[in-house]
């Protein structure tokens, strides 16, 4: 990797949202391909995610880094669109009905976005039907991801996945679930394709699922 990209990766990881856009421009001006610049930032976020997973950094640093990444991507967007983009696919994400917790879901959403996906975030307290409707409006969606943070909204997660599983498009998508009370066993029991414990693994898993 060129020195300038290495520098960019460092700035993203450190969450320097103010400097990152300028550095992206600098890299492009220096002849770096937009796609390489993007991949450089994705790589930086992978490292951030890994450090988060190992408890070395926490929510604030991760959010700061994700924000910096986002700023950088904004600079790249028009160019990437020209090149046909690097879109890894669309992901629909939301917190299930009855649950208003969204900090964890937002982190997952940002990490998945950082991994090159286009994310449609439905917010919190999302009725099961809404996931299905959103898919119908976006049939190129690859993954539906649902979050639940309360023991008492686990049934709601179950219902949501059940409804998705009934759909004719089920074979075309993967369903991911997560949130503090969820376990891999529960995910399997309700018929989801994947569960991960944290946002970094969620992004890695998403990539794996569409590969």
């Amino acid at each position: 990797m060129s020195a300038i990209l290495e520098e960019l990766a460092g700035l993203v990881a450190a969450g320097k949202a103010k400097i990152v856009p300028g550095k992206v421009q600098e890299a492009l001006d220096a002849g770096e391909a937009p796609i390489d610049t993007l991949n450089c930032m994705i790589g930086a976020m992978d490292v951030v995610g890994e450090r988060f997973k190992n408890n070395e950094i926490f929510v604030p640093e991760m959010l700061i880094a994700a924000r910096a990444m986002k700023k950088g991507v904004e600079v790249l967007k028009p160019m990437l669109a020209e090149e046909g983009g690097v879109n890894a696919g669309k992901v629909i994400i939301g917190t299930v009905a009855g649950d208003l917790h969204d900090i964890g879901k937002n982190l997952v959403s940002m990490m998945i976005e950082s991994a090159g996906f286009e994310v449609i975030d439905l917010g919190v307290d999302v009725p099961a039907e809404k996931f299905v409707e959103t898919y119908r409006a976006n049939p190129d969606t690859k993954i539906i991801a649902c979050s639940a943070l309360l023991t008492t909204t686990m049934p709601s997660l179950r219902d949501t996945v059940a409804l998705i599983n009934e759909q004719d498009f089920r074979k075309d998508i993967k369903v991911m679930v997560g949130g503090a009370p969820i376990t891999a066993e529960f995910a399997a029991e309700i018929g989801a394709d994947a569960y991960t414990e944290d946002a970094a693994s969620a992004a890695a898993k998403a990539k794996e699922l569409v590969a």
């Binding site: 408890n55 070395e56 950094i57 926490f58 929510v59 604030p60 640093e61 959010l63 009905a97 009855g98 649950d99 208003l100 917790h101 969204d102 900090i103 937002n106 307290d125 309360l150 023991t151 008492t152 909204t153 686990m154 709601s156 503090a180 009370p181 376990t183 066993e185 529960f186």
Partner: protein, 594 residues
């Protein structure tokens, strides 16, 4: 049928294929520790099997005969705080009632003592007239009373055998009972916490008081406490409620009724009285404990928008809730404010008189749910912050509740840790107040940065040689993360309450910490780590078990009972989950002050 053998406990029971081991253990009468309610997340329900392997009981289905050699955990004990130390100052004032009590409600006295004894002269029935015993008794009472078949059946004969005099115990317009002599009359107050239950036995009336010129004040005769037996169904209110939703209310309600009965019996025993002399019972508890006690459906409580099934104060019959005291003993249920701000908070407000303060005052009960109220001059706003159980040691690698063996005080002495241990024995783990001290000292000595990154992880507080069980007491990076989540939740709540009340943090003059944790923690450490904003350092006072105090107060004075109702209706509620700015604040508060 399979045979399940618990070798340590010397017990075998039969089980069907597919039965869940955790449920089976409850059925066998053990009280397994299951903080996460059997979700397979907390790892506390671990048992060792005959083949030496360990499994999670909640994730184990019976598929054949099974031998369990070791049940590792039973719900941990906690220190139970009975006393309150309410700062002197302006207390609750009488509030004029604007609305009449509805027909269905019991009429309670408008002012004065809740329970009264009256010496009643029952005039003999004149010959040739046929005036009922009850009518002549009621005349003697001299105020309108509700006719009561049980009392009327004995009052005539009792009066005749007693020179025309009986002593009536009155609760509002209700005659609880009549006696030939004046007697001591009692009441019991309960603070039903998620973790612990505190009971107080009060003497409201002293025998012969009416003849005495001096009136004796109600007093606490004895107290008792126990762990909340519902803990076996989950550590937090959500898991309890979830258990009730999945398995019905009966079991979980019955076990708290039984615990209350046991406390009633033991307190009566200690005081040398009969439970039949206990005429009133008051209950303060969070909304979930309140609902589970009454067997009220908790569905609405644990799904958005999290409203209680009922908030109003209620006067019920104790006998309807499996409580054996006097046949007519009344159960006074203190009202709730919102789904996660319950009767315990109302009781704290009654005890402290927060509404009467002229300066902005913040009351916080730091616990799993972190309820708080910010107010002055009857302008109150409450919220609940879902801090999680880290302050009770859950989710912390060497965490434990504040009971014997817990490190509760920590100082960094330049090159080593000096730890104060509850009970002065050897350390076994670290409790909430120890965690706050530790984090504060780590920050002070530069061993942790404001993002919460430790220089060294795990760090050893007490090595294996000096600990109780030969295992070192350590603290790890992931523990800091749990602490950050919990402290950020509380701190965000404080900031958003202040914002909604339109004041700056600095305008809060007084902070009252209610509950056991609030009494044991060091306010300086709490401020150093930003659990409580640093500006408030020096303005913090622990008020002890204010909920218990409030529960006692509503028993003694009718005005206080009414006050509880008006306070609960006056207090506003702030739903943090519905505030878009919560996340930003929360993320900011995840960091430690520099």
């Amino acid at each position: 049928m399979n045979t399940i053998t618990f070798t340590n406990e010397n017990k075998t029971i039969q089980a069907e294929n597919g039965e869940n081991l955790l449920i089976l253990m409850r059925r066998a009468g053990f009280k397994p520790d299951a903080p996460c309610g059997g979700n397979g997340k907390c790892g506390k329900c671990k048992v060792t099997l005959g083949d030496g392997s360990t499994v999670l009981a909640c994730q184990t289905k019976i598929e054949g005969d099974l031998t369990i050699t070791d049940i590792h955990g039973t719900p941990q004990d906690a220190q139970i705080l009975m006393d309150a130390s309410i700062p002197a100052g302006k207390k609750a004032a009488a509030v004029p009632r604007d609305n009449e009590i509805g027909e269905a409600q019991e009429k309670i006295p408008v002012s004065g003592p809740m329970l009264r004894e009256k010496k009643v002269t029952v005039r003999p029935c004149p010959n040739g007239e046929s005036i009922s015993d009850w009518t002549r008794f009621a005349e003697g009472v001299g105020e309108p009373v509700k006719v009561d078949p049980r009392v009327s059946s004995k009052v005539g004969r009792m009066a005749r055998g007693n020179g025309g005099t009986v002593y009536a115990v009155l609760f509002g317009n209700e005659v609880m009972d009549v006696y030939p002599e004046s007697r001591d009359c009692y009441a019991a107050a309960f603070d039903i916490g998620t973790t612990t239950v505190a009971g107080y036995l009060l003497r409201l009336i002293r025998a012969g008081e009416e003849e005495d010129s001096e009136k004796t004040e109600p007093c606490v005769v004895t107290t008792d406490s126990c762990m909340n037996p519902q803990a076996q169904y989950g550590a937090d209110v959500i898991n309890r409620a979830n258990y009730a939703l999945e398995n019905g209310m009966e079991e979980i309600s019955a076990c708290i009724h039984a615990a209350i009965q046991k406390l009633l019996d033991s307190m009566a025993d200690k005081a040398g009285i009969s439970t039949e002399d206990i005429f009133l019972i008051s209950v303060a508890g969070n909304t979930c404990m309140h609902h589970l006690f009454l067997g009220i459906d908790v569905d609405s409580l644990v799904h958005a928008p999290y409203n209680p099934a009922v908030s109003d104060p209620m006067i019920l019959r104790a006998s309807d809730y499996e409580l054996k005291a006097h046949e007519k003993t009344r159960l006074l249920m203190i009202p709730n404010i919102a789904g996660f701000v319950g009767a315990d908070t109302v009781a704290c407000l009654v005890a402290t008189g927060l509404a009467e303060q002229e300066d902005w005052t913040l009351l916080i009960d730091i616990g799993t749910n972190g309820e708080m109220v910010l107010g002055r001059n009857h302008k109150m706003l409450a919220c609940s912050t879902a801090a999680g159980p880290s302050f009770e040691g859950a989710g912390i690698s060497c965490g434990m509740r504040g009971s014997a063996g817990a490190i509760s005080k920590v100082v960094w002495a330049d090159d080593h840790w000096e730890c104060g241990v509850i009970g002065d024995g050897k350390a076994r783990g670290i409790c909430g107040s120890g965690l706050l001290d530790l984090a504060a000292e780590l920050l002070r000595s530069g061993q942790m940065d404001e993002y919460g990154e430790l220089d060294e992880s795990p760090l050893v507080l007490t090595d294996g040689e000096h600990s109780e069980n030969g295992k070192p007491v350590t603290f790890e990076q992931k523990d800091v993360r749990q602490l950050q989540l919990a402290k950020a939740a509380i701190a965000s709540g404080i900031h958003l309450l202040a914002k909604k009340q339109g004041i700056g943090i600095d305008e809060i003059r007084t902070v009252w910490l209610a509950g056991a944790f609030g009494s044991f923690l060091s306010p300086e450490s709490a401020c150093r780590i930003g659990l409580i904003p640093e500006e408030l350092n020096g303005r913090i006072t622990a008020v002890g078990n204010a909920a218990g105090e409030g529960a006692k107060m509503v028993l003694t004075d009718a005005q206080m009972w009414e006050y509880a109702e008006s306070i609960s209706k006056e207090s506003g509620f702030l739903e943090l989950a519905a505030m878009p700015e919560f996340q930003d604040r929360f993320v900011d508060e995840l960091m430690f002050p520099e």
